[in-house]
């Protein structure tokens, strides 16, 4: 038998005082390492600031020449006319319109799916379904665009009798499918972090599964669920390719406002569509960057809101 007895190494203690060389080396490694890591981390912050800076810089000449209020509140967008008009209202409304419609489809579906995965279905099946849902997020948006143009559009025209197949409804449906993976996985994470203790407490008081989910689990997970909705919203509002292919690109505000079968045009699709045809430093070029600024500000605000809710979700789960 081998002797595995472990004894304190009394005979060979290492010195407890640093040699000068070790001291200097430690000092250098510490500060150099810190500096390098700081640089790497800060570069992403810098990148964001640079994007903001360049987009705003390109937009400034336009905003100097053109009235900002007119830009934000009028509907006529005739950039190439002899007296060009740059009213971006219907584009802003178009973006919000398809985004909100997409959320109306995606939020209830996504939250119910998250509940199903976290509370209803067994772990094994959930582990099979979750990766499949995440694959949805990996499909390129052009492929979704094909689906919109080749499948949804003819179906809407022939079966639903819409005048055009590429319309706000088509774009919203595709956007909602694209926002679903984000909403499901973030909401599922936050619902799963609500521990078994709370669920048991509810069941032990005579609650049914339905009551437990809707009166305890969802209220307890509400910050995470709100963050999931905001993240899904950002996915939808920033999407370009799908709305360009599926929305019809008609510069109008639907009237009546609830008529989803009409075509709309979004900010992102306008930028992507027009950018290739505008001479650099023209008024039109500047107007596109001004739209970019509006879009950046909107997503920036949404991001701050979601950060706030995610932070408060974290605080709460730490406390309980």
């Amino acid at each position: 038998m081998q002797n595995l007895e472990l004894k304190p190494a009394v005979d060979k203690y290492q010195p407890l005082v640093l040699t000068p060389l070790e001291d200097i080396r430690g000092f250098l490694f510490h500060h150099l390492g810190r500096f390098l890591l700081f640089l790497i981390t800060f570069s992403s912050v810098l990148l964001m600031l640079l994007i903001f800076f360049f987009v705003i810089r390109e937009a400034i000449p336009f905003l100097m020449k053109f009235n900002l209020t007119e830009f934000l509140t009028t509907k006529s967008w005739y950039p190439e006319a002899s007296t060009p008009k740059f009213g971006a209202l219907s584009l802003i409304v178009g973006s919000l319109y398809v985004t909100i419609a997409a959320l109306v489809f995606a939020v209830p579906t996504g939250i119910l799916a998250a509940i199903f995965l976290s509370d209803i279905v067994s772990l094994k099946i959930g582990d099979f379904i979750k990766p499949v849902i995440e694959i949805l997020a990996a499909i390129p948006s052009v492929a979704y665009g094909f689906f919109a143009v080749l499948v949804l559009a003819p179906w809407m025209q022939n079966k639903l009798g819409f005048t055009t197949g590429t319309n706000a409804l088509n774009a919203s449906i595709i956007l909602s499918i694209m926002a679903l993976p984000t909403i499901i996985s973030v909401a599922e994470d936050s619902i799963s972090t609500i521990g078994r203790e709370l669920r048991e407490a509810s069941y032990a008081l005579g609650a049914t599964r339905f009551e437990t989910i809707f009166k305890v689990v969802i209220p307890a997970a509400h910050s995470g669920i709100i963050a999931a909705i905001v993240l899904g919203m950002m996915r939808a509002i920033g999407e370009t390719m799908v709305v360009w292919m599926a929305s019809g690109n008609a510069n109008q505000i639907p009237s009546p406002w609830w008529d989803l079968s009409q075509s709309v045009r979004t900010m992102t699709a306008t930028i992507a569509g027009d950018m290739g045809e505008t001479p650099k430093d023209s008024l039109h070029y500047g107007a596109l960057f001004a739209i970019g600024v509006v879009l950046l500000v909107m997503t920036f605000l949404l991001n701050i809101i979601s950060e706030y809710f995610l932070a408060s979700a974290k605080r709460k789960s730490g406390k309980s």
Partner: protein
């Protein structure tokens, strides 16, 4: 035979047994006093017949037959992993939530076998309240926590809810500390207050049995003392089954004690007998700290 794989560290055997002795004689006095007040307490309110609970193929508890009597405190003691919590959690079927489990035998509550297919789980859990090891208040305010059970039962009227909340908090000896601030988040309370809130929440559904799964293990001695006083008071009206790792606690609060080991019921008798004059060698080794 029991192997010494349980790392219960009891520093001094002598003082410990002495303490238990003195505590037993004290609680004996208490029990005599309460017995007079207690109503008709002769027939069992919870009764198990050859009850076994399996996690997959592994048995959590095996072949338990015991009767728990109303309006008294019954303690279940035993080393970690011996199935005391499993048995307790079988009584209100909260173990159903764990997948891949099944049972064998019968378990009666108020004369009904709760593992029958026709059991109304909502009513069962309203009659059999539960207090968990870790205080688990809902992330709501104090009022909504206590009113949760009554609201599930359909009580909507504000004033009757207020009444239930007040009387439950009073019964749980928490009213005086929180009466001015019922809208405060329950998570802002201290651990001991949270646990009393959980007791109040369980009382609010008007159960007649309360299961307590190591209710003091996350609490300091002062909070523990308050909970024990509360248990002592509650036993006049409620049947309490308490699982505990703390043998002094079992000796202090309970009238009967069951000793579980490796999923089996080794001995079940009056607390005085279990701690003073146990019938089995295993029980004696455990209660004197000479376990293994």
């Amino acid at each position: 035979m029991q192997k010494g794989n349980d790392n219960m560290l009891i520093p001094s055997l002598e003082t410990d047994t002495q303490e238990i002795e003195s505590v037993v004689s004290l609680s004996q006095k208490n029990n005599v006093a309460t017995k007079k007040k207690a109503p008709n307490c002769e027939c069992a309110i919870v009764k198990s017949e050859n009850f076994s609970f399996y996690y997959g193929s592994k048995a959590g508890v095996k072949d338990i037959s015991m009767e728990i009597y109303p309006c008294s405190v019954t303690a279940i003691i035993g080393p970690s992993g011996c199935g005391k919590s499993t048995f307790l959690r079988s009584i209100n079927r909260i173990n159903d939530l764990i997948p891949h489990t099944h049972i064998d035998g019968k378990l009666f509550v108020n004369g009904h076998n709760v593992y029958d297919k026709n059991t109304n789980l909502v009513n069962l859990r309203q009659q059999v309240g539960m207090v968990f090891q870790k205080p688990n208040p809902f992330p709501k305010n104090i009022f909504d926590n206590v009113a949760y059970g009554p609201r599930l039962q359909g009580v909507k009227n504000r004033s009757s809810l207020q009444q239930v909340v007040e009387s439950s908090l009073k019964a749980a000896a928490l009213w005086d500390e929180v009466k001015d601030d019922l809208k405060k988040s329950a998570l802002a309370l201290s651990g001991g207050q949270q646990q009393r809130l959980c007791i109040a929440r369980a009382l609010a559904t008007r159960p007649n049995i309360i299961l307590m799964d190591e209710p003091c293990s996350a609490l300091d001695p002062i909070a523990t003392g308050k909970i024990e006083d509360l248990i002592d008071k509650l036993q006049n009206d409620y049947t309490i089954v308490i699982v505990t790792h703390n043998m002094q606690q079992a000796a202090r609060v309970s009238k009967r004690t069951a000793f579980f080991c490796l999923g089996e019921l080794i001995e079940y008798d009056s607390t005085v007998k279990i701690f003073r004059n146990p019938g089995k060698k295993q029980t004696e080794d455990y209660v004197t700290g000479r376990f293994g």
